[in-house]
Amino acid sequence: MPSVAAFTTDEVRRLAHLARLELSSAELELFTRQLQDILAFAQQINAVDTSSGPAIPFIAGEARPGSLREDTVHPCLDRAEVLALAPEADRAAGLFKVPRVLNE
């Protein structure tokens, strides 16, 4: 188990970047303390001996996943309706718009 003591503002900054979350400096400070508390709480699970436990079930409980459906074509959402929901779209071209990604 990795040490929770290593949880620093740098670690939180790294996680925020990985998760693509822009944080204010106040958030960075608050979250460093809180994430450490939560992780220490979560580490209670280390006290459980799982060496001879049962196999991990598929998904959960007794749920029986549905049989796979036939791979047939069905109507789906209308493209124009979907694009109308987008913050920015080129409706004529049928595409979502994002800032330039090539030659950034």
Partner: protein, 480 residues
């Protein structure tokens, strides 16, 4: 007018004593008048409710449907075509879905009228309905206190008798805990019992739609309508749907009720302990056999749950990137800036879980956290299987405390997580559970939880309805 039970409304509509439009108008009038007091609703669906009422008025054949003319409220993380669905997040503040959730379709096909979308914790992450971009929900028994969460608005809509039935969603107790804190009935069905198509995903290995009702019979009537296989939802199970309405007639005589004394012994508020002990006496007096059972791993449920939840939440919420729908941060010159600034709109609890989920799924940490949590989860599930060889249901308090004060746990996430101490293990085990009102402590409602083996909803309804008839706690409502 106090809204009557769904069973009564449906009977009156079928007999022609009232019309769906009359029920709809009275409900919307009260909803508009009460709107700000408890902050239970994010959006009122006037047009949709009235259109459904007119359709029911016009076609007398529809008056025989199981929920004909019954007004219902829907948690705002369940999609409604043409009606704003926010998940209580700024990221989806103006989002209007293109499709209905299967549960919404089924309710309307059964004759129900959807009157509004209820407030909750953002993306269902919380136990107090305070983590909402639309402000906290207030408890109608004491407006300085939380309604519980995450489905607090739905609990309040039923507690104030605005609607007899409301849908919520369950991940760690998000229906049962607010039901307990607001004094109503709340059900979490077996994982796979109800389709999640159109439920905004949070923890896919756990999430399940749940039901609030003022009475056990109303909850059974609602589950009867929404349960069953949905070809659009791969985890909805092809397991026959029992007759839940018939199940409520059973009675407590001969029921084997397991009590995990070692687990629930510690950490209870005195008033909750007293109400729980009294409840067990009532059941024993009615002919139930009380059996001590052991659930040795349930004390680790909340910690196990925290790991599973953060991991799956971080993955599920990666879809909110400001590209295809929802909010987009302005003036972003690069895709990275677009993502990061749009996702900065998430509230604190969502950010915490996304970051911790990112952490526990990182290379080198996966085995120590997520895999370990899944192994503990398997043990929690095994404990239940062993216990249910000896008993029909297991009884615990739903929540260790009554409604806490608004703001009291906001700065301390771990304290907030402990609100789920008695509820999260049923979610991890995939089993059904129900909370029924079982009295009051210092004027605040207390909830009694029953859990049963997977697919055994009928025995839950039997037990809960027997207890309800013996005590009449479900007839108590706050004065509003």
């Amino acid at each position: 007018m106090m809204t009557r039970s769904a069973v009564e409304i449906r009977g009156d509509v079928a007999a022609g004593r009232t019309s769906p439009s009359a029920v709809c108008a009275a409900t919307l009038e009260r909803l508009d008048r009460q709107a700000g007091r408890f902050n239970a609703f994010i959006t009122v669906a006037h047009d949709r409710a009235r259109a459904k009422a007119r359709e029911l008025d016009r076609d007398p054949a529809l008056a025989g449907r199981p929920l004909a003319g019954v007004p219902v409220a829907i948690k705002d993380n369940i999609c409604t075509r043409g009606v704003r669905t926010t998940a209580a997040s700024r990221v989806l503040e103006h989002h209007v879905p293109l499709y209905d959730a299967t549960v919404v379709e089924r309710l309307e096909a059964a004759g129900a009228m959807i009157v509004g979308k209820t407030n909750c914790d953002e993306f269902a992450m919380g136990s107090s309905s305070e983590h909402s971009a639309f402000g906290p929900v207030r408890n109608p028994w004491d407006t300085g206190r939380t309604a519980g969460g995450s489905s607090g608005g739905s609990a309040v809509a039923v507690a104030t008798r605005l609607v007899p039935i409301a849908l919520g969603s369950e991940t760690g107790g998000s229906v049962r805990q607010p039901a307990a804190l607001c004094g109503v009935v709340g059900l979490k069905p077996t994982y796979g019992r109800v389709s999640r198509y159109g439920l905004i995903a949070f923890v896919s290995s756990i999430d399940q739609v749940g039901v609030f009702g003022a009475t056990v019979a109303d909850v059974a009537a609602c589950l009867q309508v929404i349960a069953g296989r949905d070809p659009r939802e791969a985890t909805s199970a092809d397991v026959p749907v029992d007759d839940y309405i018939a199940a409520i007639e059973g009675g407590a005589q001969g029921l084997r009720v397991g009590v995990p004394n070692a687990w629930v012994g510690a950490g209870l508020e005195p008033g909750v302990r007293q109400a729980f002990t009294d409840s067990l006496d009532v059941l024993r007096g009615a002919g139930a056999d009380l059996v001590d059972v052991e659930l040795p791993h349930s004390e680790y449920a909340t910690a196990t749950y925290a790991v599973v939840v953060m991991a799956e939440a971080s993955s599920n919420l990666s879809r909110f990137d400001g590209v295809r729908y929802g909010a987009r941060a302005p003036h972003a010159d690069t895709v990275d800036a677009l993502y990061s600034r749009t996702r900065a709109l998430f509230g604190d609890e969502v950010k915490r879980r996304i970051m911790l989920g990112t952490y526990v799924l990182s290379a080198g940490y996966y085995d120590a956290y997520y895999l370990k949590a899944q192994k503990v989860r398997a043990l929690i599930r095994q404990d239940f299987e062993r216990a249910f060889e000896r008993v029909d249901v297991i009884a615990t308090p739903t929540s260790p405390t009554t409604a806490f004060r608004l703001g009291e746990r906001l700065e301390d996430p771990v304290q907030m997580y402990l609100a789920d101490a008695f509820t999260a293990s049923a979610n991890l085990g995939g089993i059904p559970a129900i909370s029924v009102p079982c009295g009051f402590a210092a004027g605040l409602p207390v909830g009694l939880q029953f859990m049963a083996r997977a697919w055994a909803e009928p025995v839950l309804f039997r037990t809960a309805a027997a207890y309800e008839r013996l005590t009449a706690w479900t007839t108590h409502a706050p004065s509003v």
